[in-house]
Symmetry: D2
Subunit: 150 residues, 4 copies
C-alpha cells in the first residue's frame, strides 16, 4: 500500500477545504492510503473525502492521546511529540500534496524536500524551489502516481 | 477501529513467535487493527498472523524510512525517532499484549502502565505490578475485548 | 564534560529528595554536569543540590516550552516530545543514578539498560537485572566515576 | 541563562562559517548560551566562536549517541529523533539566528515562526515573512538582546 500525505492549513479557506476533499476522494478511489496530521482544516476535509469513498485514513496526531483526531480518521497515531510529528508524516508518505498552508505546512514541505520526497503544491501558499505544482486535484493525483510508480 | 498493540522480543523464541502468530490472527478475526514496532521476532509473527487472516497491520518503525518494515506490515509509519517510537505504539494502542520480551518490551510496558493503559502479559518475561496476565492467545484477546469495550 | 543523569519519582518521599540533593551536590563537586527531566521531586532536589554547589544543570523537559522547569535548571531543553524525552536523558547521560521511582523511572531504566548504559540504583524502587546498586550518594558517585573513567 | 540558537548550513560557505564564528563569539561575550544542532558547517563554526571565548555550547544531535558532536560542543544532547530534533533546538532557544542555510534551516525557521519565536536572518538563504534581518554579527546580537530583554 502506498501512502499519500496531505498537508495544509488547519485554518483553511472554504476553497482549500473543497480542493482537499477532492484530493482525499481521489486518493481513496486510486487505492492509496491517506496520511495526514489528523486534525481539522485541510486535514479534515481530505480525510472526509477519502472516508466518504471507502478509503483508509491515517492521522498522526501531535498529542499523546487520540481524542482530537477528526472523525474521518480510521487509524489515529498518537505521537505525543507535538509538531515534530510533521517528520513522521513526511517520512511515512510516498509523496505529498500541499494545499494552502501556513508555517506548519512550510515546515512539512522543507522536511520533505530535505529527504528528496516529491511535494506537489495545489493552490499552495508556498512556492519553494524543488516543489512540483498541479492545477487541479486530478492533476495532483496523476503527478503523484507518476512519481510513486516511476 | 480499535488498535491492539503487540509488543515483545525482536529475538524471540519459536514458542513466542507461535503465540504471537495466534494473537495476530485473533486480532484480525475480531476486527481489530494490529499496531506494533514493525520489525522482526514477535512483531513479525504477530503481523503475519493478522496479515494471513485479512487484518490491518500498522508498524511504527524506529527508522526514518520504511525499508526495514517486516513484509506483513500494511501501513508502515517511519517515525525516525529511534526507540522513542515505543511511546507512539503505546499511546496509539487501546490495549497491549506483551509476549516474552527484553528491555525494549519492559520500556513499552512501563510507558503503557504510566499512561494507565491495560497491558496483558502472555508468556511474558516481565511481571510488573499493574499488568494483567493471560494463559492463551484466546484468553488474551478476550481480556483485551473486555477492557476495550467496558 | 561528562553528564550524569539523575532519574526518579516526581512525587518523591522526603528521604528520596534528601538523597537526591546529596547526589546532585556530589555531581557538582566532582565537576560533572547533571542532566535530568527538569521537573519536580527527585529531579528538583538533585538539581538544587548541584545548583547550590555551583554545578551545571540540564533539564530535558517533556513540554514544548521551558516554563515548567524547576528553578535550579540552568539549561532547560524544551523537547516537546512528552515522556519520550526519557530517551534523550538516557542517551545523553554517560551514567545514570536512579532514586526511588515509579513507572516513569522504570521506563528510563529499561531504555538505559537496552543501550548498555550503567544504571546505579540508590534506594531505588526497582531492581532490574543489569542494574548496579549503591548504599549511599558517595558510593553512587564513586561507582559512576569508575564506570565513566574505565 | 538565555539560549540563542544558531541555525544554518551543514555544508556552509567560508563566508558563512566566518560570520557564524563571530556570532558564536558574541553570544559567549554577552553571556548567552549557544544552542545548535551540534554538527558541522555553520553549527561548528558558531560553536568554535563561543568555545574559544569561554562560552557554553549545547548541541542537540539527531543521533542517539554523542560521537558526531563537533569538538566545540560542551554539552551534547543525543536526541535520537533525527531531524525532528530541529524542534528541540527551536523550542529551547529564546531567539534564533539563521546563517545561509538549505532545507534543514528552512525547517527550523518555519518551526520557530510557527511558535512566534524571533528569527534573525544574517546572510540567510531564506527570506520568509515574519523573519527579522541583520547586516552584521554585531547587529544580530543587538537585535537578539532587544528581543530577549524586551
Amino acid at each position: 500500500m502506498y501512502l499519500i500525505g496531505v498537508i495544509g492549513s488547519q485554518k483553511a479557506s472554504e476553497k482549500a477545504k473543497s480542493i482537499a476533499y477532492e484530493v482525499g476522494k481521489l486518493i481513496a478511489l486510486n487505492n492509496f492510503v491517506l496520511v495526514c496530521g489528523g486534525l481539522d482544516g485541510v486535514m479534515e476535509a481530505a480525510s472526509k473525502g477519502a472516508f466518504d469513498h471507502g478509503g483508509l485514513t491515517v492521522g498522526i496526531l501531535p498529542d499523546k492521546d487520540k481524542k482530537n483526531a477528526n472523525p474521518y480518521i480510521k487509524i489515529p497515531i498518537a505521537s505525543g511529540m507535538g509538531y515534530a510529528r510533521n517528520f513522521c508524516i513526511v517520512q511515512s508518505a510516498d509523496c505529498l500534496i500541499a494545499i494552502e498552508g501556513s508555517y506548519g505546512t512550510l515546515n512539512e514541505i522543507s522536511a520533505a524536500l530535505n529527504l528528496q520526497k516529491t511535494v506537489i503544491g495545489l493552490e499552495c501558499s508556498w512556492n519553494i524551489e524543488g516543489m512540483k505544482f498541479a492545477n487541479s486535484p486530478q492533476e495532483a493525483i496523476e503527478l503523484a502516481k507518476k512519481f510513486i510508480f516511476s
